[in-house]
Amino acid sequence: MGAGVKKGNAFTNNPIVKTVGTQKIVVIGVIIFLAIFFSWMSPAFRQYSTVVSIFDFSYYVSLMAIGVTFPLITGGVDLSIGTGMVAAGLFAGNLVNQQNLPVGLALLVCILFGVALGCLNAFSVAKLNLPPFIATLSSMMIARGLGSILVGGMSVTWPAGATEQGWFRSIFRLDANGTLIPVGFILILALVIVMSVFLNHSRPGRYIISVGSNKEAARLSGIHVAKWHALAYIISGFFTGLAGVAYAATFQGIVPGTGAGLELDAIAGVIIGGTSMKGGYGTIGGTLLGVFVMSLLKTGLPFIGLQANWQQIITGIVLIIAVFIDVTRNAKK
């Protein structure tokens, strides 16, 4: 793969490479390598159920990651997505269990909760000019505490798949006469396409990129920086709410006080996918690929006998390599 990149013009001028992007080609290569490696090492890995499991556990991270790509592109960060996702899932799930709210409405509440959190971040960052790290660290704590208070400290279980209210679980995994179809992946792909078009081909998207690449230049060229800066955090909040839906659909009990740390999985995925920590550059497609590297490692490593702690070490190493590629690229520029 390294050699492939170094082929220089012949490689980078290839029309496919040009459209897809160098880093993404590398990441796709890594994904293929990992898939082949795990399949070769473990016969149990070569099962359809493994694919469905990898998809299943990737949805909530993918959604958080798509959202947090936007603040990262502006050169900021959103640390509140993990606890925010859990708080949204707790609050909306509690309404279903305690107030008999129909699940459809609860999903909407879950998303709106995320948007509200995004608005709070947008206000702190774009209006109060707080550093994004501090602003979203604060809202991360607020979301964690608020989630517990809103449900009285008790864990919340959304309706089970077999029950009448449990239909929402098939949004992501459809059971067609015993065959499991990971329909969530199609949804995620659709969102990736929509958000890619939004980022690269719509005016707001271009403005968000310009905030990240050179805030001052953007301001001088008449762009309302605060507005588009705020929008990035609201988008992140919206996807936090969507992630809450995916989290509730995938898992059983949602426990108050949890969620801290999950945002780092998503952010790591975004960085591996080629979004620059410095801002001004990033792609949604890359983010999805980055998340898949993480998911493959998480699910695959236990198959070759490497337990939980090893998985974190290896993910850390992959992250260092990804950031190193980013740094080298910036140096070349």
Binding site: Q98, L112, V115, C119, A308, Q311
Partner: protein
């Protein structure tokens, strides 16, 4: 214009968040009201009983019970048991608890109030022993006996707590092993071609209660396997491997016990642990030692679908309850589960308190645990101990 719109939007969402907060608080208050009411009723019932109970059965003692709160339905069941025992013994109880398990100061206040009423005895489930030390000393000085319950009063001064009514977690783990063994594990072990694997999913390797539930299960399974003339080995988490009674480590036994503990307590990592066990062909049983692990078993099985009670299925055993686990038992996804006995715990704390108040010698009571399956889940003596 657009700026105003954004500001308006932001304000709206902030107000929305506040409203959500209020809504939630509203819910909270209702819960509090109900619990307070129930608690009051408990007191009233007891009082009424004491009044009508002129018969020599009861001395009409006043027993104060300070719990950890009413958040969990578990505590409603403890209250129920306490009321039953109070009625039986002809005593008055006043059952109180803070709003949440983090309201330590509230519990200190409640404990102080309890002492000030000069009761015949006090039942106490401490949130923070340190914070209660003054009160404990005062109660001792006034000769008010204290009985611990649930997790008791850990590290209390020697002699200050006369007895405890709590779950023996090691015995509860053994119960899961014995019942599971008779209900199908034995057949799979004895009739196996080659070695078989028994998985243990643990949320952590730090909490005493969870470790004991794990070790009780592991040690008992090992005893049962060895009684059949087969060998056992243990692999996985170091703490469990070292503390269990199983001598041989690694994969060499006829029965291999594998204990998995996630590096962090997240739904995803525990579910992946579950899948790791399910993906091993020789796995015949998986035991999850608390509600979190039981739920991870359901999540992990959703894509692999090997759990069940059929001849070729992997048997699942859970601990405690909750909506998901109860459903899994009913659907026969799990062969069975062990529940603690909060009702018996409530009864025991009152019985111990009354005995202590009457000057009898008291000693610790294991309030027990029960095995339940799809067939027995609706039996009243089981169902009263299950919660959502």
């Amino acid at each position: 214009m657009k700026k105003k719109l954004v500001v308006a939007l932001l304000s709206l969402t902030l107000v929305g968040t506040l409203l959500m907060g209020c809504g939630g608080n509203g819910g909270d208050t209702t819960t509090d009201d109900t619990t307070t009411e129930t608690a009051d009723n408990g007191g009233d019932d007891g009082a009424a009983d004491a009044d009508t109970n002129d018969a020599p059965a009861g001395g009409g003692e006043n027993i104060q019970i300070v719990s950890k709160g009413f958040q969990h339905q578990f505590w409603q069941a403890v209250l129920q048991g306490a009321e039953e025992a109070a009625e039986e013994l002809g005593v008055t109880i006043n059952f109180v608890g803070p709003n949440s398990e983090s309201d330590i100061a509230d519990q200190v206040q409640m404990f102080q109030n309890a002492i000030n009423q000069h009761p015949a005895a006090i039942g106490l489930a401490a949130l923070d022993t340190e914070a209660l030390l003054d009160g404990i000393a005062q109660a001792q000085a006034e000769g008010i006996p204290i009985i611990g319950f649930d997790s008791g009063v850990p590290d209390a001064p020697a002699g200050s707590i006369l007895a405890n009514a709590s779950t023996d977690n090691y015995a509860a783990g053994q119960l899961a092993a014995n019942e599971g063994w008779n209900a199908g594990i034995r057949d799979r072990v004895v009739n196996a071609n080659g070695s078989v694997r028994i998985g243990v999913l643990s949320q952590d390797a730090t909490s005493e209660s969870i470790i004991n539930r794990g070790l009780g299960f592991i040690d008992q399974i090992a005893t049962l396997v060895e009684a059949e003339g087969l060998t056992v080995s243990i692999t996985g988490n170091t703490r469990y491997v070292n503390d269990s009674a199983v001598e041989e480590t690694g994969e060499g036994g006829d029965v291999i016990i594998e204990v998995l503990v996630p590096s962090q307590v997240t739904n995803e990592l525990s579910a992946i642990d579950m899948q790791t066990l399910l993906n091993k062909e020789d796995t015949i049983v998986i035991y999850g030692s608390n509600q979190h692990s039981g739920e991870a078993m359901v999540t992990g099985n959703a894509t692999i679908q090997r759990l069940g009670v059929g001849a070729d299925d992997v048997l699942g055993i859970a601990f405690d309850s909750g909506a998901t686990i109860k459903q899994a038992i009913r659907d026969q996804l799990f062969m069975g589960a062990v529940t603690q006995a909060p009702v018996a715990m409530g009864q025991a704390v009152v019985q111990l308190a009354v005995a202590a108040a009457r000057g009898e010698t008291v000693s610790d009571v294991d309030t027990g645990a029960q095995w339940y399956t799809a067939d027995t889940i609706d039996n009243p003596e089981i169902y009263q101990n299950l919660y959502d």
